[in-house]
């Protein structure tokens, strides 16, 4: 018996192992518990959180036993790409991105609700609704509206979208993708804003030069077609005409290095974060591949791809004398963080061109009633299969309505025809919201 009872102590080896393991766990718990607890594992994890728009309208609310989105179905769908859903299917929603900020954690009490519970975003739910339904049920596209003075994003919608309340219902193809941040498109003529900037800075006699358009321009063995025969034009007229022949020449005049540098400096090749929610990088040919290719790239074709969010940053900087207010999604009282993106003189010239575009070519009285000081550029980017992406981007040069916007309608047709009305409805709603 004695032998057995002595050997029985071996059982305690296992107990010792368990004590060792539990000690290890407790140490890790103390060390990493915060990260574990605040990880978004479905919206009921942790103590829960609550998202509201800038006016206090409820977007989403969660705790361990209850989950709720806006009671209004249109708001839920329009704001889906802002909020995300219970399962984090979009991967880019504020719920998962800000989960760790929506609740408190302490070793003692674990996750607890943060007081005040509201986590307020810069967006305006009613503007988002307007934007979403302006893009439309049957189209794919993205629209963003931002205050270029403060950097606050007021609307961000992507279609098709999802009703986050029901995980069982099948959704449209690629509906989980936020096309504002997570997609890139061929830019077409909106890219001429970049080519123009390169030329303004690197073609010394640009303002005294004229560019001939005969409806077609041959460079090397490549023919670049135009929408019309524009004749001799200044750079402003070429921009307003959105003349491919002229911009092919302007791109070659500026040269590959200048163009590439500007594309890079303006942030088109980088991914950014909209207050912690990542955006994707665009692309531009990284090596000089001959003048014909350079000419193509100067008019937003070739391998050019642009994320709508990057385009919004660019036009917002142009609107704000070249200074970019860091785009924000979380509402704070802190002043805008300004950085220079575009030379002031370049921004001034681009602004004049964009204003000239609208006045001379976009028929603002009919197309944009009630919207003054509009500066914009259209884009109709050929996708190669006969369809084209419709772009419309710009801003209001008006201190009382300091809004920059970007609209992309995927395979939507002409920029002014397809994307212009979307911008009009968003801008009208934004101006109305400001009280005229």
């Amino acid at each position: 018996m004695k032998k057995i009872t002595t050997r029985a102590l071996s059982v305690l080896l296992l107990a010792l192992g368990i004590i060792f393991g539990m000690t290890l766990f407790v140490l890790r718990y103390v060390d990493e518990g915060r990260d574990w607890a605040l990880y978004f594992a479905g919206a009921n994890s942790g103590a829960g959180g609550e998202l509201r728009d800038r006016n206090g309208e409820l977007l989403a609310s969660f705790d361990a036993t209850r989950s709720a989105f806006s009671a209004d179905g249109e708001t839920r769908v329009a704001c889906y790409h802002i909020t995300g859903d219970y399962w984090d299917r979009s991967g880019t929603g504020a719920l998962s991105a800000y989960w760790d900020r929506m609740q408190e954690y302490s070793l003692l009490s674990g996750t607890t609700k943060k007081e005040p519970r509201q986590f307020t975003l810069t967006v305006d739910a009613s503007l988002c609704r307007t934007a979403y339904f302006a893009v439309g049920y049957n189209r794919r596209g993205a629209a963003m509206l931002m205050n270029y003075r403060t950097g606050e994003v007021l609307a961000m919608v992507s279609a098709p979208s999802v009703d986050p309340i029901n995980g069982e219902v099948p959704v449209a193809e690629s509906a989980f993708i936020n096309r504002c941040l997570s997609a890139t498109f061929a830019p077409g003529s909106v890219f001429k804003l970049v080519t123009a900037a390169a030329a303004i800075e690197d073609v010394p006699d640009l303002s005294s030069r004229s560019f001939l358009c005969e409806g077609e321009y041959t460079i090397g063995s490549v023919d670049i077609h135009c929408t019309g025969v524009h004749g001799w034009q200044s750079v402003e007229q070429a921009m307003a005409n959105s003349c491919n022949c002229a911009f092919a020449q302007i791109a070659v005049a500026a040269g590959y290095n200048s163009l590439y540098r500007h594309v890079k400096d303006y942030g088109f090749l980088d991914g950014y974060e909209l207050d912690g929610i990542p955006s994707v990088a665009g692309s531009y040919r990284t090596e000089f591949a001959g003048n014909p290719e350079l000419a193509w790239s100067g008019i937003g074709q070739s391998t050019d791809l642009v994320c709508p969010f990057a385009m919004l940053r660019y036009v917002a900087a142009i609107a704000n004398d070249g200074m970019l207010a860091r785009p924000r999604l979380i509402l704070t009282d802190e002043p805008a963080e300004l950085t220079r993106l575009v030379e002031a003189s370049t921004a001034k010239k681009l602004k004049e061109m964009m204003s000239y575009n609208v006045v001379t070519h976009y028929d603002p009285a009919n197309n944009f009633p009630g919207i003054s000081h509009l500066c914009a550029k259209t884009g109709t980017a050929e996708t190669g299969d006969g369809s084209s992406h419709a772009w419309f981007t710009g801003f209001l040069d008006d201190p009382s309505h300091p809004y920059a916007f970007v609209v992309v309608i995927e395979r939507g047709g002409g920029g002014l025809q397809a994307a212009g009305p979307v911008a009009r409805r968003i801008l009208q709603a934004a101006i109305a919201r400001d009280g005229g």
Binding site: M1, K2, K3, I4, T5, T6, R7, A8, L9, S10, V11, L12, L14, A15, G17, I18, I19, G21, M22, L24, F25, V26, R28, Y29, E32, G33, R34, W36, A37, Y39, A41, G42, N44, S45, G46, A47, A64, T65, Y105, S106, L107, L108, S109, G110, T111
Partner: protein, 543 residues
Amino acid sequence: MLSSGYESETWATLRFGREGVPVTHWENLIGSARSADIRVEREDVERVHAVLKRDVDGSWTLFDVFGRGGVWVNGDAVPAGGTVLQSGDAIKLGRTPLHLYDMSEEKRDKLEAKRSVAGKSVSPALTLLELTAFELLLLLQHLTTAPQERPVQIALGFAVLILLEWFCYYAMRLIGRSGFEVETIAFYLTGLGLSVTASSAPQDMFKQTVLILAAFVLFLLLGLWLRSVRRAEKTRLAAAALALGLLALNIFTSDSLNGAKSWLQIGGFSFQPSELVKVAYVYVGAATLEKLYRRRNLLGFIVFSAVCVGALALIGDFGTALVFFICFLVISFLRSGSIATVFLAVSGAAMAGFLAVSIKPYIARRFATWGHVWEDVYGAGYQQTRALGAAAAGGLFGKGAGGGWLTEVVAADTDMVFAVLCEEQGLIIALCAVLAVLTLSFFAVRTARRGRSAYSSIAACAAVTMLMAQMALNVFGTLDLLPFTGVTFPFVSRGGTSLLACWMMMAFIKGSDTRRGGSFAVSPVAELLRPAAKGEKKGGGGA
């Protein structure tokens, strides 16, 4: 419970020369070795020479272990089956004469009265009162913190549990038992398990309540059955056959569920045969002292173990196979004391394990995930990352019973139940649950030293080993300290068969507790030699 007074029982006196040695167990090894229970330091006495064994009826039997030195009683050599001794008989080990003097009932009563009574240092009623308060709080939380389905079933479940606790307490008092530590721990863990069921599957509350009652009845029956070691010893073969039969049934009839075919459907009830086999394994694995020294017995046990572990591997239940293997190591070490045997077993198992990992891709995957769960939160690391997140979200005091979300994750209430405890009850209660099982193990090891028979000591140690191994795999798997194996946390994980098995394990621990008034599974000293109690009812109890 660990600090209570713990003196040996004394059953007889063995005299050699002028020395008188108290006989403190029912099975005693006589020899010259330091480890012998009765040490006779003479040149002609072998290190391990003879075994002196007492039976329930008070008779003593002497066995010759190796037969080299020779053992004689009253001049006759002792045969293989042993020789029954009378008080005062002359024994000869080699040339050394010994005399066995049985103890008079009066003297034994006097000695017994001097021993501390179990449960004296900490009042069992007070602990039980605290436990009741804790369980009432749990119930209150369930009824208030969350919008509950079926509040009546939940309240009923807790009410039955609390009533059962007090019934058990008074019933034990009635038959003069005051040792209540093992029961209290088991009830504590069972209560936590009931709370987990209320959180994750309130529709199963009624079933769980019935299972608790059934488990308790089985605990009583097995405990009473174990009062007679001879009875247990004789039925070992039958238990082994039953175990193998269950495993065979499992292999050939059940369908695959979550990769493992470990469930058996019988008449609408699904149960896991491997859980009952655990009980049988302990039952079969333990052995009385005189049998331990026969190599053939150990060999039989090794073959039986290999078949069990192999069958579980075949079923695909590698977690349980591992638990069995750890238990096998402990039993075989207890029985043989041979490090070499254990080493051989470990290397054999390592090879088998390697084979299993290379053949079964899902096991290899779990090994690959081990330590890297945060790198694949939507795939292989899904369960553990959720478990860790929920565990940390609970803090030290938890979100309250029913207030957690982890129960929505598949298998949270079984494989990841430790994290559910952390989330709902807090880290402190969860660690207490682990501590409770560890306390059981310390208790079992301590009582094993005073066990009357090697059988009950080995069984108690094997039972706690089984529980601890299971808990270690469950907890450390959940917390990514070991690969995820999907075994249950004793008592707490939802699952009927597991609960039955755990309670039956408790009977083994009770069976080795020889404190005065310590255990219903041990016949009290006072009853043993009274004529009325003589020749204990054979075949009674739970056949």
